[in-house]
Amino acid sequence: MSLTGDQLLLYGVQYATYALEVWVFVSLVWRGRWRRLKGLGLYVVSLFLLDGVARPAVSNFFGQTSRQFFYFYWITDVVFALGAFLVICGFFRRASAHEEKLWKVVRLLLIFVPPLVLGISALSLTRNYTHLRHMFIIEFSQNLYFTCLVLNTLLYLMLQQLAVEDDELGLLVCGMGVQFAGEAACFALYHLTAANSMAKVLTQFLAPCCTLAMLWIWVYAIGKTPQFVSARFRLGKNKVLVEAVAD
């Protein structure tokens, strides 16, 4: 079986993504940041297991053009988006670690997000019932990624507003932003052009490239930034004494 240039490029990007997923996980463990970034670690592991192991297995078993693989592909895509949403929730928690009042408001907002996205997508489902197989899933993914992008941007603005001196968190958030923005734009283009063949090809390349960019930014964030240690952590037991003195 001979491979065309496009396919070779696609395979290259795909295997580079797997390699970077492993690299992110190894960096987390190697640099001892696994405990502080548990959510991120689990997300990367699930990315690798679902995208690198489960999808090829299902594709081999049922065939790439089968209905089973189609549903499995899009369901895992929704799982990725939901996983990313949970990672963002974790970042929000870390960013507002010293602002309990703010965290209560943010938590309330975050709880309402998934039902809201589901509601909007269900509304569009009732309008486009005949195109269920294709367009609903595309629109749902597009809405979910865009919501995550908006949340991510809110988080970025919050980090700027609170002047959080945590470069690692800043870069992780930027990485997420690149991924969500790229994916949301790809889905929107796909949706707008009604799955035009040109848009299909573009989406096929752009989406993995965005994931690749996100993973590279994460590798840089974990490997090159100094570990941020909050004042509370650094002081340990003396915190109580400091607070007592401050009072």
Partner: protein
């Protein structure tokens, strides 16, 4: 359709915004000391004087000279990045990203000049990128020693 078009425009804008934010975060990296000064002196680079002129007078003195200075410093520093005390003789990924970022900001500087908009923010960004490159080169060179002298001291004493 309207929603999809809106998402496409906003997402594309935010994609470039986040890429720019990543570049800015990389540029914020703290070095153990100001390595760039020795590299600037040894290679007679001019970007610190450009920055000083902008900070003192609020705008760069002459536009053609500004472009030439920044371009020459960029060429010198990218050459040094690749060849000075670099065992692999190639750029790292973040250096490649910053080189691309420099080119984009440089293009935006030219566009600002054509449109008669303020050029100083773009010029300051360019000097910040050049300072980062000089710091990276200086840090690398500083690890190579010739007897009791560091490479940058050696270059200065030539």
């Amino acid at each position: 359709m309207f929603m999809a078009a809106l998402i496409l425009i906003v997402s594309t804008g935010l994609f470039f915004f986040y890429l720019q934010a990543v570049c800015q975060k990389i540029l914020r990296r703290q070095f153990t000391q100001e390595f760039f000064q020795s590299i600037v002196n040894a290679n007679r680079l001019e970007f610190p004087s450009v920055r000083k002129a902008i900070e003192d007078f609020g705008s760069p003195v002459e536009y053609p000279r500004l472009l030439l200075t920044l371009k020459c410093d960029f060429l010198a520093l990218t050459y040094l990045l690749k060849n000075a005390a670099n065992v692999n003789q190639r750029y790292s990924y973040e250096e490649r990203l910053l080189i691309l970022y420099f080119k984009l900001v440089f293009a935006s500087l030219i566009t600002c000049h054509w449109l008669k908009l303020r050029e100083t923010p773009a010029a300051l960004k360019l000097t910040a990128i050049l300072e980062y490159f000089a710091n990276v080169v200086g840090e690398r060179v500083n690890t190579v020693r010739f007897g009791n002298l560091t490479a940058s001291d050696y270059l200065l004493n030539l």
